[in-house]
């Protein structure tokens, strides 16, 4: 397959190309578009929430619609925006950073994306079919199990489908990183972003099955008459809370660790220094991942698990501050004495340090179980998790997109617009959420659609809403930046940042097969090592030869579409048993496609060495 043919194609051919692609770089773009779309959707929901709260006893939205908005804002941002955008970066960068030509399971990679997308679409279909889920993104039973209508059913089925896709992505990256590193790329030579991808994938693998089970139990309770969470049948609703948070707490580390990886790479590149304390950074990443499984009950301090359980989980939670602190100091020491260049990627990274540290500090406050009785379910908690998720994950995604945009698309995002985005978003973010700490301490509860006047909450809420508009402006400017850059931006070479790691040793965007010859890695920051020794690129580890690549396939799309149909069947069979036919048709499509995948041999294809692009890679 020659890459020159792939250049000039009609819309239909391009669409078919993306529907069937198994190329990790194209899947990254799909994740970016999908995640970006849901990010805008979740942002719109956030704006509606903030407009409703701009003044006391406002009636911009109804109480019921407000519940739907806050539920869908949380669910969308976590599952359909942050996770896919992280997967976009993982797909775009990890195989390049370890010197691989593809991921271990290109088919599963594509399947993971389509499952995410169809799960997200199913979830959002609820808006048009009688109302969105309205039991909070945590969907606590028995509220969620007794909620009338089909909203929560869409939550259950949508997340089940997209969660399956995430699990596949996790396994895929674990195997890719273990099995497909280039010659010489030992574990302790991997860039920190790859390390965080590795630990995050392990967290996905061990956390998501708990959500799978929780969602199954809720589905059985709501749709098939079981009694897991129904006290009348002897059920116990606290089981849902445990299962949800056994998944839910590792989930926040799943999100934040790759962002930590982005910052590590950005700081190192733009300080022209190797990462300070690389070994300690790896150790801290693994330790955070490990401790992430030991702390779920800190979300349940007020449930009444008893002082012993609360104390253990409080201490474990506070312990996480130690490896996180190690990271903060190592980033500062990486900057120390470096030849620092400040651009958009660097601005997001620099802003992350104080923002995230504030979130970490309130995290330790919340970890004090006795004090948590006061903080629980107030805006203090809202402020805390937005400081870590926006100040950590979203800043990380923006930094990563600015940093790797030239690698993904061959063009640098406009710096002026990037800085406008940064400053409006950064100021807006602190304006929105800093004041919420105090609103929470003053007793304003989460999730209420109105507050009364004369309670001292008016000014704080007004400031918060004004901040939200600044964030929205920042997001719009970023979108404009993406469009203007793709139209007018100038092409750049493979290494616009004077980079240190393998992804900068190949052209931008990289060819279909990434590396014409696999590189020989001789240490941490392998490209930098070659540069300091006067070479322009990597030393090849193999002669030029035929390259084996996987074939494109439509089956992942078909499987996901089948589950999408079956999802509707499961939801509506409680109203009318004839909907069971949709379950059978949908599952038939999915299992049929799996059967085809199993019996039809797919050996992939070879790119002959005569067809490889000329040039030495840069």
């Amino acid at each position: 397959m020659s890459t020159t043919i792939a250049q000039n194609k009609g819309f239909g051919a391009t669409l078919w190309d993306y529907l069937t692609t198994v190329d990790h770089k194209k899947i990254a773009i799909l994740y970016l578009i999908g995640g970006g779309f849901f990010f805008l959707l979740g942002g719109l929901e956030a704006m509606a929430i903030r407009i409703q709260l701009i003044k006391p006893e406002n009636d911009f939205v109804s109480a019921g619609f407000y519940n739907e908005l806050l539920t869908m804002h949380g669910t969308t941002m976590i599952f359909l925006a942050a996770m896919p955008l992280i997967f976009a970066l993982l797909n775009a960068v990890v195989p390049l950073q370890i010197g691989a030509r593809d991921v271990a399971f290109p088919f599963l990679n594509s399947l993971g994306f389509w499952l995410f997308l169809f799960g997200g679409i199913l979830l959002n279909c609820s808006w048009f079919l009688g109302g969105a889920p309205d039991a909070g993104w945590t969907a606590y039973a028995p509220l969620s199990t007794t909620q009338p209508g089909h909203g929560v059913d869409f939550y259950v089925l949508g997340l089940q489908i997209s969660g399956a896709g995430t699990l596949m992505g996790g396994i895929n990256f674990l195997v890719t990183i273990v099995n497909m590193r280039a010659p010489g790329m030992t574990y302790m030579r991997m860039p920190l972003f790859t390390w965080t991808a590795f630990v995050t994938s392990a967290l996905i693998l061990f956390a998501f099955p708990a959500l799978t089970v929780g969602l199954f139990l809720m589905m059985f309770d709501r749709l098939f008459g079981s009694g897991f969470f129904d006290a009348n049948m002897g059920g116990n609703s606290v089981i849902w809370e445990h299962l949800f948070w056994i998944f839910g707490h590792p989930e926040v580390y799943i999100l934040i660790l790759p962002a930590f990886g982005v910052f590590s790479d950005v700081f190192s590149t733009f300080s022209k220094k190797r990462l300070f304390g690389y070994t300690a950074m790896v150790f801290a990443t693994v330790l955070i991942g490990f401790l992430g499984f030991m702390v779920w009950a800190h979300h349940m301090f007020t449930v009444g698990l008893g002082p012993a359980a609360n104390s253990i989980f409080a201490v474990a939670t506070m312990a996480i501050a130690v490896p996180t602190g190690i990271k903060i100091f190592n980033w500062l020491f990486t900057l120390w004495g470096g030849n620092i260049k400040i651009n958009s990627a660097m601005l997001w990274s620099l802003a992350f340090i104080p923002s995230f540290t504030i979130g970490g500090m309130t995290g330790v406050m919340l970890a004090a179980a006795a004090a948590d009785y006061q903080f629980h379910d107030t805006y203090f908690v809202v402020a805390h998790f937005h400081y870590v998720i926006v100040g950590g994950v979203v800043f990380g995604i923006f930094a990563g997109l600015h940093y790797w945009w030239p690698k993904m698309f061959g063009k640098i995002l406009d710096e002026t617009l990037g800085k406008i985005t940064f400053w409006t978003f950064f100021i807006g973010f602190h304006l929105t959420f800093f004041i919420q700490h105090f609103l929470g301490l003053m007793g304003m509860p989460r999730r209420y659609w109105v507050y009364l006047t004369d309670q001292g909450l008016n000014t704080g809420n007004l400031i918060s809403t004004i901040g939200a508009f600044f964030m929205a402006i920042g997001a719009i400017v970023f979108l404009y930046n993406v469009i203007i850059t793709s139209i007018k931006g100038e092409k750049v070479g493979g290494d616009p940042w004077d980079g240190r790691t393998l992804e900068w040793s190949i052209p931008s965007p990289p060819p279909h097969y990434n590396f014409k010859q696999l590189p020989l890695v001789r240490g941490l920051d392998p490209l930098w090592i070659e540069k300091t020794e006067g070479r322009k690129g990597m030393t090849p580890a193999e002669p030029v030869g035929d390259i084996h690549m996987p074939n494109p396939t439509i089956l992942p799309f078909v499987m996901s579409f089948g589950l999408f149909i079956a999802g509707f069947g499961f939801i509506y069979q409680v109203d009318d048993a004839s909907w069971l036919s949709a379950v059978f048709i949908g599952m038939g499509i999915c299992l049929g496609a799996m059967f085809v995948r199993s019996v039809k041999d797919d050996h992939g294809h070879h790119i002959h060495k005569e067809d490889l692009d000329k040039g030495d890679g840069l």
Partner: protein
């Protein structure tokens, strides 16, 4: 050397399931998947343990469970794990026919197990009035044991598909990893059953 020749070497390597990069990836990826499955079943076991005394006035585990049938089922499944080991032994010796025979025996044992499980559920539902909807205990029992049963059914369909698909062409480096991970899956199902036997049935009658 073309791809076909690479996948059909004259002398099969000692570990045909791990001789290609695809095979190595499948092998490792499937182990990771089983790690995730372990968490899945651990969550189901935890739920069952929390709800096993919540019988809501219906029959208790002592009244329901007998060990005779479950003992036979356990023996069937343990034996099927052994026969799948024999099949993998023959795969490594490149004796395709023998591998198919032992896989066939594995499938028969698995089918018998599944039949007995359906019979067991039928007895509980029809004679004891113990259903998925009768109590939280019932929901937890049928979900845990049913998830296992569903895994058995999927494993059987998987192994049968592989046997039928490759019946005429024999073993090569493309399908050896497929057979191997199917057998890994089968062992995993067996291990889960050992825990079900202990936690659900043994602890249920004591």
């Amino acid at each position: 050397m073309s791809h076909e020749d690479i996948l059909n070497p004259k002398v099969m390597p000692e570990e045909p399931e791990k001789a290609t990069l695809e095979g190595k990836n499948k092998f490792l990826g499937f182990w990771f998947f089983l790690g995730g499955e372990t968490v899945l079943f651990a969550s189901l076991f935890g739920t069952y343990l929390a709800l096993k005394n919540s019988n809501n006035g219906g029959p208790t585990s002592e009244e329901l469970f007998g060990l005779e049938l479950v003992f036979i089922m356990t023996m069937l499944l343990l034996t099927s794990s052994l026969t799948s080991v024999y099949a993998m032994y023959h795969m490594k010796n490149n004796e395709f026919k023998k591998m198919q025979i032992w896989l066939g025996i594995t499938v028969l044992l698995g089918l018998t197990f599944l039949g007995l499980e359906i019979y067991e559920f039928y007895e509980y539902i029809v004679h004891d009035g113990f259903t998925f909807r009768s109590s939280a205990f019932g929901s937890a029992f049928y979900t845990l044991v049913g998830f296992h049963g569903g895994h058995v059914l999927f494993g059987l369909l998987w192994i049968i598909t592989l046997m039928a698909r490759n019946a005429k062409r024999g073993l090569n480096l493309y399908n050896a990893p497929k057979f191997y991970i199917a057998s890994l899956y089968w062992h995993f199902i067996d291990v889960v059953w050992v825990f079900i036997f202990t936690v659900v049935y043994l602890m249920g009658v004591i």
